[in-house]
Symmetry: C2
Subunit: 339 residues, 2 copies
Amino acid sequence: MGVNITLAVDAMGGDHGPKVTVPAALELLTRRNDVKIILVGLPDAIEAELGSSATKWGSRLSVYPASDVVAMDEPPALALKKKKDSSMRKAIDLVHEGLADCCISAGNTGALMATARFVLKMMPGIERPAIATTLPTINGHVYLLDLGANVDCEPEHICQFGLMGSILASAVDNKDNPSVGLLNIGHEAIKGNGLIKRSAELLREAPINFYGNVEGDDIFKGTVDVVVCDGFVGNAVLKSSEGLAWMLGQMIRREFRQSIFSRLAALVALPVLNNLKRKVDHRQYNGASLLGLKGLVVKSHGGADVFAFRHALEYAVSEVSNHVLGRIQAAVSQLEKTS
Amino acid sequence: MGVNITLAVDAMGGDHGPKVTVPAALELLTRRNDVKIILVGLPDAIEAELGSSATKWGSRLSVYPASDVVAMDEPPALALKKKKDSSMRKAIDLVHEGLADCCISAGNTGALMATARFVLKMMPGIERPAIATTLPTINGHVYLLDLGANVDCEPEHICQFGLMGSILASAVDNKDNPSVGLLNIGHEAIKGNGLIKRSAELLREAPINFYGNVEGDDIFKGTVDVVVCDGFVGNAVLKSSEGLAWMLGQMIRREFRQSIFSRLAALVALPVLNNLKRKVDHRQYNGASLLGLKGLVVKSHGGADVFAFRHALEYAVSEVSNHVLGRIQAAVSQLEKTS
């Protein structure tokens, strides 16, 4: 197996920058010998983390200089206008120029989306980009989109999210005809607002396996393979789920510290609970796809640690090796022809 | 302490009807000697559950006949039009006629809202009713509204939800100046859609302790006392949280059944985990307020068991004894005068 996948990593992005991105990149190189990584950012900062291991990887590892960094709280429009030599911009440029198959960044989501949209442009037939991620379910995982790229959606956008989500699930999970559910406040077709009712009509006509309406609890019950919603709702659901999981984790820890008995119980229970924790660890679900662009971009959680960022890199590799971009393009142009 | 609180209980509502509502009512009578309960519904069905205990409570327990039942999946408009002698309708009528202080139903939410709005009418100054409930947080609980009464909100409605939620929290929890957060996809004021930005402006001017934007994870972190959002978002957040909590519960159980070791671990760990489960048990958070009406209505989860339904009754008692209705009315009329 030759080297056939090239990732452009925004080494400066995220809360921890090169301290996380560089070791994660090195871990990935060890695990996947078909991958080449270009670390984009301030050379000094990157090389300080690389140390002596830089030369070991030969042409599979390179540093691409960028003199600027987009701040985590920088307004997207400003980042786009003023930071043309940022690590984020340069990493996306590499995808645009065909020098990398996918760009991965833990940076500012708004800036990443705005820059990717400006540089890579939208796929013909797709009006709005969407952010998609996977979440654990009782028996596997589910794709949820949009997660915040769009806060004012039209039914056409939601329908396009359904199409893109369906292709993503079928490509990455090698699943035939994945089922797509529309997030609503009831299962019945009469429920919901005008946006949702019209979206359901469009999804019903789309060339996907449309399940119909689903409710919030269906996300984690694994009722469908893909759940679509507008970006505001998706973001609220994702973040509240993260908050609830965090709270329960804290409470379990607190409960086991309550008394001598519970401290003893913890000794035997914690290995079992840690086993579960590994299974639902949000870090291994790190890596959200920016869909609808003429190039692959994966967003990592800003606070990702090395383990989480490596998972985002692995997720990017699976998108590239499963030809997500080409498959979405083909499906969209097929749809354009028939409509 | 004399009997000074009268509850009208829709005895037929919910998935289990009188099998749940009647024993829960009897439990409440035992616990609160200041409460009188009117069980509304098919007398035969209610009396079958009451058995010999009917007479024991004297005037504190009575049965008010209603010949019809609203089905759980009945369209609200139909229920309102065709079921004028339903247990739900009659229970609300009792509040309207001043014969009861609060109506409690585990029935069809849409029908309950439509009927309550028709019979009781909206409070002057409030344009839309809202559904509010409490959720556990890391250090207490939070009020979340709206949970689905409104799927297309205007900024004015969201601002009114903030006012009503603030008064609810201050009345029921006896908390001075509770903080109110607006659910958004970022903390910064520039985030969100037009609805949210305008809602934030109105909330900033309202006579409440407005915290500003909060994100989904802030709900469970206890960042604020009250979180407001439109009904679509609130419903999606509430149900996805229920789904996630259910999934984690299932997974914990499954994990402890995996091996001999984990089964042994379960023996010592389960008492600790059950202790936690009691703390976050959604059944004790059962009881959502229908706010903005000229009368108190509490909605119980449709699938409530006796324990959960009793909690909804207790919640109704706390709304009555804390004068939630009068306080909201006073605040709204104060607002009307000053604006």
